[in-house]
């Protein structure tokens, strides 16, 4: 197949991936839940930061997919690495789009790793996957919601004590909540900005590998628009669903968002693949418990989709590998 056609196909796939990632981006959910902004304003803001983050931070973050987990000798087994990478990314995109359509936030990392495990088992058998790394990561996957829950629970309790002591009327609450509104708005915008920069690497990575003549800036702009489109079309469902999981106010949104951002930052520095979605949901549960406020019934659906992410992504990547391999 001519290089131009391959490039066009890769570009389309890259756009689909960025759309899928944008569709499952729940960063703005606390803003919606605490009603600092309405959904229209949130989507506009999210789109701006998605595009800005992709353009300004996206360059140079193209990362390899599954280096540490897949133990495949591509040359000996005569396997196309491009086909493997593309299969993983497309299966991830499909899982993300499906869960977003249901309004359920999942971890894109988990979906990716599910796809990698599926292909590793298909192409290399039991030895195609680095199980030690998977086991090491699993500990963090289990630990991150616990950390999110515990930290938020503690922060909310401290915050409540502070409110009880210092806030003596509606007006004092109003002033306090207004301040939190600005703080949380800034934090979430920064998170959305950096997340867009990081997320677009998954989409851009496959196209960058096709050839040297690619205009990276144009590619990043496209990816940014893909993220924004995903947010606008399906992301709104995820944002609304997660934002309404429990009663949120600007101060409690702060109590949810700050531990999530801090734990994610530590995870990134320590190169631990934590899930922002898992942390955020666990933090919301922590908030609900600390405040004795009810949780929405959909929590079990989210946990179920978390557990199903791996097998679904694995099966999907096995099914998709054959046609993609033929195409490449």
């Amino acid at each position: 197949m001519a290089l131009e056609y391959i490039l066009i196909i890769f570009l389309i796939i890259s756009l689909i991936i960025s759309f899928a990632i944008g569709a499952n981006d729940e960063t703005m959910a606390p803003l919606y839940g605490s009603r600092i902004l309405n959904i229209k304003q949130i989507l506009i803001l999210a789109a701006i930061f998605a595009i800005a983050g992709a353009i300004l931070l996206g360059e140079g973050v193209a990362k390899s997919v599954g280096d540490k987990i897949l133990l495949l000798d591509y040359e000996t087994l005569s396997i196309s690495q491009d086909a493997v990478v593309m299969t993983i990314l497309i299966s991830t995109a499909i899982v993300l789009i499906l869960s977003s359509a249901l309004g359920l936030p999942i971890s894109s990392t988990h979906a990716t790793i599910g796809g990698i495990i599926g292909l590793g088992l298909l192409l290399g058998g039991g030895e195609g996957v680095n199980w030690n790394t998977i086991l090491e990561m699993s500990i963090w996957w289990l630990a991150s919601p616990v950390v999110g829950y515990t930290v938020t629970y503690g922060v909310v309790k401290v915050l409540n004590k502070h409110k009880l002591k210092h806030l003596k009327g509606f007006q004092a609450y109003e002033r306090s909540e207004n301040k939190y509104s600005y703080v949380i708005l800034i934090i979430i915008c920064i998170t959305a900005f950096s997340r867009a920069g990081n997320d677009c690497s998954n989409a851009v990575g496959i196209v960058v590998g096709v050839g040297d003549d690619i205009n990276i800036t144009l590619l990043l702009i496209m990816t940014g628009f893909g993220l924004a489109a995903g947010l606008g079309v399906l992301g709104r469902i995820v944002i609304k669903n997660l934002g309404k999981m429990t009663e949120l106010r600007p101060s409690t949104a702060f109590a949810v968002q700050v531990p999530t951002a801090a734990v994610m930052l530590i995870g990134t520095i320590q190169k631990i693949p934590l899930s922002g979605s898992h942390l955020l949901v666990a933090s919301l549960v922590g908030l609900s418990k600390a405040n004795n406020s009810p949780m929405k019934k959909g929590l079990w659906k989210i946990i179920a989709i978390w557990l199903l992410t791996f097998p679904i992504a694995a099966i999907l990547s096995i099914i998709l590998y054959f046609p993609i391999n033929l195409l490449i």
Partner: protein, 214 residues
């Protein structure tokens, strides 16, 4: 954010005007009842209560219009204030209903129940006044507002005692059954105002208790 602040200021202004009207209505009702027990019912005062209710309805409509003028997300406090306003408006509705009833009440009050009746309507007036104070105080002083909610509870107890003392006397009377029935209704309707005031103050107390965890 600036628009939101402007909107909030407008809501605060309407709310203040609304509470002032409620106090005015309560004072007019008190005046009407003071004249009623002396068999010289001042119907203008009752008409004043009815007019106050109309003004309050207009203010309530304005409040709702400002709230939903643009489909902006609302801060949670606005919601709570709106609920308070709606509950206090029901107090006003009950005062208006009572006034209309008193306008068409065709008898003079039994002399035997005048003292108890005075106790009942005094408790009613005080309860409404305290509720308005509580609604004002909740803005700046939870502790003060919290204490007032207990005073309102006390008013309800006083009103309940007065109501049953009145009903006991009224039911023992050997008079025209229609007059006895309508007098018992008169007593019940005025007690309903106090009962609703107390329910509203319970809601306010609930808010005060819940706020630190909101």
């Amino acid at each position: 954010m600036k628009l939101l602040k402007e909107k909030k200021n407008e809501l605060d202004e309407i709310n203040k005007e609304f509470l002032a009207e409620i106090l005015n209505g309560s004072a007019l009702l008190h005046e009407a009842l003071s004249t009623f027990i002396n068999d010289k019912l001042k119907k203008e005062s009752l008409e004043g209560v009815i007019q106050t209710e109309k003004k309050c309805d207009e203010l309530k409509d304005r409040y709702t219009q400002v709230l939903f003028r643009d489909k902006r997300a609302l801060p949670f406090l606005v919601e709570d204030r709106y609920n308070i306003l709606m509950m206090i408006d029901t107090v006003n509705d009950k005062m208006e209903f009572f006034s209309r009833f008193l306008q068409v009440y065709p008898f003079k009050l039994y002399k035997e129940i005048k003292d108890e009746f005075t106790n009942l309507y005094s408790a009613c007036s005080q309860a409404v006044e305290e509720l308005v104070n509580c609604a004002i105080l909740i803005e700046t002083d939870f502790d003060g507002a919290y204490k007032i909610t207990y005073k309102i509870e006390e008013r309800k107890r006083e009103a309940r005692t007065a109501k049953f003392n009145l009903l006991e006397k009224v039911y023992k009377m050997k008079d025209d059954p229609t007059k006895i029935y309508l007098t018992s209704k008169l007593v019940t309707y005025i007690y309903d105002i106090v009962a609703w005031v107390e329910e509203t103050s319970d809601y306010l107390r609930g808010l005060i208790i819940r706020y630190p965890t909101r």
